[in-house]
């Protein structure tokens, strides 16, 4: 149920988010806030861990750029237990990645408050930087972007955002909602007990009519569903440019291994092996095993992949990795009726055995075993 914070009238959606963050710090509800912030001279937006309420000025979570999946930052922030409480402001794909990481004990949310928000999508980071160089007021640019989003003017957003179906942060502790709502209201959805505790004595009012919001969300979803691809016919051609630089792995929030077994030295490959394989197969591609690399990566993190598309942004060879991983992982997730990051209580398919699952791959006519 969405609630409106009473007595707050802001100029726009961005203002109301900033207001809430400043409030959390001022009232010492949290010790720090992690939020994307513009820098006076920089071209991009980067995350800042803010402890002084005054420093929340310049926060710009709605800026249409994602430089890293912030779930990766949470791994760093909660590596060791600390007693400092942090409110982390996350895009929906970051919330979902964080929940997956909590399940596999790579993030501890003991002292984290996950504050999600409706996400309008982002540009490719390099494109954003090129655009922003020409803009005078970067905050205005963000607001302009939101305006365009809301009035359905087509913006050249990153491809993986263009078919994203999870653009509201329904599994965060608190979701800051603005799509289909009055721009002057500060509206939040409280999804967890923890979220409730964070705002417990704030005066709120339930929003009785959110039909405009529902309609808007439905419309966006329908449009995006049509863009989603269901199969890839030229996988090998698409992967061909891969130089196995491991950028996609480095930026992936779900790749959590300390050492990746997909590196040749981990496989124990000898130089002789390359020659032997080349002799046997007449020729081999170098660097080799690029297909094996991507298939194994999908096999490992496919059930948890949140399709944030950060891998595609990181690829120096412009391989449409976001699309590739989205198509594969959606199929894996559908098999297990699993949506990564949907709920903390949903058990990972890889650790759960259900007698009835995967029956479609069994053939009843074949006598099983001997």
């Amino acid at each position: 149920m969405l609630q409106m914070l009473k007595g707050i009238k802001a100029k726009n959606h961005l203002e109301s988010i900033k207001y809430f963050l400043r409030y959390l710090l001022q009232e010492k509800r949290v010790d720090a806030v992690l939020v994307p912030k513009r820098h006076p001279n920089g071209r991009s937006v980067s995350h800042a861990l803010i402890t002084d309420p005054l420093n929340t000025e310049g926060s710009d979570p709605l800026a249409p750029v994602q430089t890293v999946n912030a779930a990766c930052i949470l791994k760093e922030l909660t590596k060791e237990p600390t007693d400092k409480k942090i409110a982390v402001v996350l895009r929906p794909c970051e919330v979902r990645a964080a929940i997956e990481l909590i399940k596999i004990k790579q993030v501890s949310d003991e002292n984290l408050y996950m504050i999600g928000y409706d996400c309008p999508g982002v540009y490719d980071a390099k494109e954003y930087m090129n655009i922003i160089e020409k803009e005078e007021d970067r905050e205005k640019f963000t607001l302009k972007y939101i305006e365009a989003f809301l009035s359905d003017k087509k913006e050249e957003i990153r491809e993986s955002c263009s078919y994203c179906m999870y653009f509201t942060a329904d599994s965060a502790d608190i979701n800051m909602a603005w799509i289909g709502l009055n721009s002057s209201d500060l509206v939040i959805g409280v999804n967890t007990e923890k979220g409730k505790k964070l705002i417990n004595d704030l005066e709120t009012e339930e929003i009785s009519d959110s039909s405009r919001r529902k309609e808007k969300i439905g419309m966006i979803s329908t449009g995006r569903k049509q863009i989603q691809k269901d199969r890839i016919d030229n996988f090998l051609d698409l992967i061909q440019p891969c130089i196995r630089c491991y950028n996609c792995r480095e930026v992936c929030p779900l790749c959590y291994c300390k050492e990746c077994l997909l590196e040749p030295e981990k496989m124990g490959y000898s130089s002789v092996r390359y020659m032997n394989r080349a002799i046997k197969k007449k020729q081999i591609k170098m660097p080799d095993d690029t297909v094996l690399y991507h298939l194994t990566k999908i096999n490992h993190m496919g059930y948890s992949c949140v399709s944030c598309g950060i891998c595609e942004q990181a690829c120096p060879m412009d391989i449409p990795l976001g699309m590739i991983y989205n198509v594969f992982s959606r199929k894996i997730q559908a098999l297990f009726d699993y949506v990564p990051g949907r709920s903390r209580d949903e058990e990972l398919p890889v650790t759960t055995f259900r007698e009835e699952e995967l029956s479609e791959v069994e053939d009843i006519q074949q006598p099983r075993g001997k």
């Binding site: 596999i104 291994c257 650790t351 006598p367 075993g369």
Partner: protein
């Protein structure tokens, strides 16, 4: 002192009893009449309710028994006579001639291939033929051929002799004679089992007259992939696929018309259900119909199995007793005329009819039992008293398996454990350790030495050599890097071959041995012991199977087979380069046992462990011992329950080795097999106990119902309350003229979709007591299926004779109780035959409410890392063959914690858990497997996936380091964690990533 026990019968119960005793360190002599052990279970295709392959789960037990150093197996043997002398038994065992030397025979099969005489194949129920020299099935134990002397041309008239000529192992011995050996035993376990009813006694079913009428066991052979039709379902008359199969239940069971078969054979309902499901799995076009009297799906998860048969596999169940089968002469189809539940006569045609035949005690076994002075019941079963299951009237003679009454496989396994526990009494003590650690010669340090690989290629007689060009494989092996020696042998597993291998290891300073032969399952230990004798660590052996997976399957393409054999050898050599010496870990064993629960199961288990000299901590949450038994007044057959319980409690309280804690609450249980620590409170006082094993006997409770007006009307009572009414001669009986008992209240549907097993027997017991005290009062039993299984069935007949009226109702047409006034009811019940409702005026309603699991089971399960089923009862390690064990070593379960059961069943299970606890505490040290998982901490991210997937509870995430750690003693080396770890941070010793990758690299070179 020689501690030796005689086990008669090599079926599953005899095998299990033998194994349990052997593991307690007691010598076992097992005598089996047939040439191989395994009994009827070996003939089954699958097992219910999991549809596991019967042979696959049985074979490992047979191999384990046969290779156990404490066990001597006498096959083709029988007991001549037994004399009791000074508390010991002297038995003379006749071993009939096999005409094949058991030591020499390698089961290569050349003899049978060349033997010109065909005889009927008894193992396959004579559906097909085998040779006169034969082995019943590929996995038979012992794997030794036998000549049928009745038909052998050489033995009957001195001609032929082909098998002797062709046997490469020189194992044929036509001169072999019967021998008689006399041996001394401390006690005897009789597990002679039963035979199937011969349906010829029922001529109306046309068995052996109509070709397409089979018995259930014959049909099992048809279903079996290793059976006479290789698992094809065909009609015997024309070899065609049937489309309609009928199963007829209770042939030779619940059947006094064809002889003295008044009992229920217990397992046939489930067997027919299983066979109908398997039939559908074989071929979707075959439909099955089961004609039954009552569906007795009383075991754990059995009702769910029957539900699946109905809903998923479309099996039809028709309640009707079949009086006759006719054959259509042209099609040989079978015509069954039956009366439907609504009283109409129907005629249906089937292509195949399966008679679900019951079991009975063969005369031979009756004679053996009577010869020992054992008293038998009217059917020839050695029926035991409720409180002494497994015991006979003769001291030192114990019984298990179907000789005590009809039962299914897990019950036989449980009773075997109990018999082992009983037979071992007085033979164990904490001072004598059973574990005699074999002295090993000093091991050569191979670490610093250069790789010297030896390759042995086996001909396996002609098994391999007739297809694979062995000399060229040897030549090829010599060309591989690091191979210092390669050699071919006719039988690599023979004694002289092993000696040769030992000599060559020393001569060439070999430090890795590759044997290309058969499966490791058959001879790995043979070769490993060779390595040990040569001073090598036995895990420096690598076998590769060029027989089962090469010569046997590529007979028609010898050149390609030879190429494949070379590839397999190259792979094995590739892996062997990375083999490392492995060692088992040893850990001390705390000899005490913790028993959780002071009901009948817990008390019995505690006594059996303590009586053998081991300390027991018995923990009961209530303020007194006894559990559910305190509320029970009568038993069937009649026994003084109060006296029995008082005796038991007194023995517990007075036992010097049992420390009893009442009003106790467990706080936590830490540790692992051999080394547990439990913290608990007793009367609010904090305590702690150290122990090596845990027996879970937490029990269950009567279900609380709100149905049929219970809780609002004092004239609606449960069966248990009714028992008390009868016992106290409660004056309310004065106002009661007729009584209705309603069975399956809140059971076998919805959230409680299981059978509580005891209620039908409970109702019958109360009816008999009622009719004894108040013969004139009427009683109606409204039931869905009467499940008075096994030897309880005759009491059901007695209840009917006494005038109780049994009226059936369907799940979706439950009886409706209309209350006229207090103590005056009108029950509306739909009667199928009349096709309309009938009304029963009654003054008292008795509800069979069944049994619920305890809510607290969840906490105990979590502390012990053991699973519960969806109904909240503890789940055993394996439903068939490990019914009282958990996957987690050293933890056992008995009584109603495991599922609803009768008192005698709880007791027998409790005694069995004691046996299994004793197999651990009798050892000074327990050893781990050598093949265990290990964690590379530098790679571990602590994600916990491995913890989730480990069924043995062997992995934990260390709180400090946040890294996974493997408890080697609990790890069984299954490798699941290795597969689950994305980071390759876990490796399985003996199957490391490095070893496997290098093995494969050789293939893809």
């Amino acid at each position: 002192m020689d501690r030796r026990i005689l086990v008669i019968g090599g079926g599953i119960s005899g095998v299990q009893a033998g194994l349990d005793l052997a593991q307690m360190g007691i010598q076992v002599t097992l005598v089996e009449e047939k040439p191989n052990i395994g009994g009827r279970m070996a003939q089954l295709d699958k097992t219910f309710p999991t549809n596991d392959c019967s042979t696959c789960i049985l074979s490992p037990k047979l191999v384990e028994l046969a290779s156990h150093s404490n066990v001597d197996i006498f096959t083709c043997s029988s007991i001549e006579d037994v004399v009791k002398l000074d508390e010991r038994f002297q038995a003379r065992i006749r071993k009939r001639a096999r005409f094949v030397d058991e030591e020499k025979c390698t089961a290569c099969g050349v003899c049978a291939e060349k033997c010109p005489v065909k005889v009927s194949d008894l193992f396959n129920k004579s559906i097909t033929t085998s040779k006169c020299i034969s082995i019943p099935y590929a996995q038979a134990v012992p794997a030794v051929y036998k000549i049928d002397k009745e038909y052998c041309l050489y033995l009957t008239n001195g001609k032929c002799g082909i098998c002797k000529k062709v046997c490469p192992a020189d194992a044929i011995d036509y001169e072999q004679k019967d021998t008689i050996e006399a041996m001394d035993f401390n006690s005897i376990i009789i597990a002679t089992g039963t035979e199937e009813f011969t349906p010829q006694i029922r001529p109306e079913y046309g068995y052996k007259v109509y070709e397409n009428v089979l018995t259930s066991i014959e049909y099992e052979r048809f279903l079996s992939a290793s059976g006479p039709t290789n698992g094809q379902i065909v009609r015997p008359s024309d070899g065609k696929l049937p489309s309609q199969i009928a199963f007829i239940q209770c042939v030779g069971s619940r059947d006094v018309a064809s002889g003295n078969y008044g009992y229920c054979s217990s397992y046939c309902c489930m067997q027919a259900t299983k066979d109908a499901i398997i039939t559908k799995e074989h071929n979707l076009t075959i439909d099955s119909t089961i004609f039954y009297i009552d569906i007795r799906a009383y075991g754990k998860d059995f009702d769910k199995f029957v539900d699946r048969a109905k809903t998923e596999y479309g099996v039809k169940y028709i309640k009707s007793r079949i009086s006759e089968i006719l054959e259509a002469p042209d099609t040989k189809n079978l015509i069954i005329k039956y009366i439907t539940p609504d009283g109409k006569i129907r005629i249906e045609e089937f292509d195949l009819v399966i008679l679900s035949v019951g079991i009975r005690i063969p005369d031979k076994s009756k004679n053996l039992l009577r010869g020992l002075g054992v008293e038998l019941d009217e059917y020839g079963f050695c029926r035991c008293s409720t409180f002494q299951p497994g015991e006979t009237n003769v001291d030192g003679v114990y019984v298990c398996g179907t000789v005590t009454g009809p039962m299914d496989i897990p019950e036989a396994v449980v009773s075997a454990g109990a018999a082992a526990s009983l037979a071992a009494r007085g033979l164990l003590s904490p001072d004598t350790s059973s574990e005699i650690m074999a002295e090993k010669p000093g091991e050569v340090d191979t670490e610093a030495k250069p790789l010297n690989i030896g390759v042995i290629v086996c001909h396996c007689g002609t098994n391999i050599a007739s297809v694979v060009d062995v000399p060229s494989v040897v030549e090829f092996s010599r060309s591989l890097p690091n191979v210092k020696f390669a050699h071919e042998l006719l039988y690599a597993c023979s004694q002289d071959s092993i000696r040769l291998i030992i000599n060559k290891i020393k001569e060439h300073d070999l430090n890795r041995i590759v044997v290309a032969s058969c499966s490791p399952r058959t001879h790995e230990s043979t070769f490993q012991s060779g390595l040990e004798k040569a001073g090598l660590n036995k895990y420096l052996l690598q076998m590769t199977n060029i027989r089962d997976q090469c010569s046997w399957v590529h007979q028609n393409t010898p050149e390609l087979a030879t190429q494949k054999a070379k590839d397999l050898v190259r792979m094995a050599v590739g892996k062997s380069r990375y083999l490392e010496p492995l060692y088992e870990l040893y850990s001390d064993v705390n000899k005490a046992c913790l028993v959780i629960g002071g009901g009948i199961a817990g008390m019995t288990a505690a006594l059996f462990v303590a009586d053998n000299g081991y300390q027991v901590y018995l923990i009961e949450k209530e303020s007194e011992l006894g559990g559910n038994l305190l509320k029970i007044s009568y038993l069937l057959p009649e026994e003084d329950i109060v006296l029995a319980l008082q005796r038991l409690i007194r023995r517990i309280e007075e036992h010097p080795l049992i420390e009893l804690f009442l009003n106790a609450n467990i706080k936590d249980i830490k540790g692992y097999v051999g080394n547990f620590t439990t913290n608990f409170t007793t009367n609010d006082e904090e305590k702690s106990a150290e122990h090596g094993t845990v027996i879970v006997a937490t029990g269950a409770r009567e279900h609380e119902t709100e149905s049929y007006g219970y809780k609002t009307d004092p004239y609606v009572v449960t069966q248990r309350e009714f028992e008390t009414v009868l016992k106290n001669k409660n004056p309310l009986m004065k106002y009661v003229n007729s009584i209705a008992m309603i069975q399956c209240v809140d059971s076998r549907e919805g959230e409680r979709n299981y059978c509580s097993r005891v209620c039908c027997g409970q109702a019958i017991k109360n009816i008999l007591q009622l009719k004894k005290d108040y013969p004139d009062k009427d009683v109606y039993v409204l039931y869905r299926d009467m499940r008075t299984y096994g030897l309880r069935e005759p009491y059901y007949a007695v209840a009917r004779e006494a005038g109780a009226l049994f009226l059936r109702y369907e799940k979706d047409r439950k009886p409706v109780v209309e209350k006229i006034e207090q103590g005056n009811f009108k029950i509306k019940l739909f009667n199928e035959i009349l096709g309309k409702d009938i009304y029963l005026p009654v003054q008292l309603i008795v509800l069979s409410v069944g049994i619920d699991s305890l809510e607290t089971n969840g906490q105990v399960a979590k502390m012990l890392k053991v699973p519960l089923n969806e109904d909240g009862f503890f789940n055993e390690a394996h439903v068939k063959l490990r019914p009282v064990d958990f996957s987690t070593s050293g933890v056992f379960v008995c009584g109603m914690a495991h599922g609803p059961k009768h008192i005698d069943e709880s007791i027998v299970q409790a005694i069995a858990t004691a046996a299994h606890a004793l197999t651990i505490v009798t050892r000074d040290k327990i050893s781990s497997e050598a093949y265990t998982a290990s964690v590379d901490e530098s790679r571990c991210s602590g994600c916990g996936l491995c913890v989730e997937v480990c069924v043995f509870g062997a992995i934990e995430i260390d709180e400090e380091s946040e890294r996974a750690g493997v408890n080697t003693l609990l790890c069984k080396g299954c490798g699941t964690c290795v597969a689950a770890c994305f980071s390759s941070a876990i490796d399985l010793r003996g199957f490391t990533n490095k070893q496997i990758i290098n093995e494969f690299q050789e293939l893809f070179l």
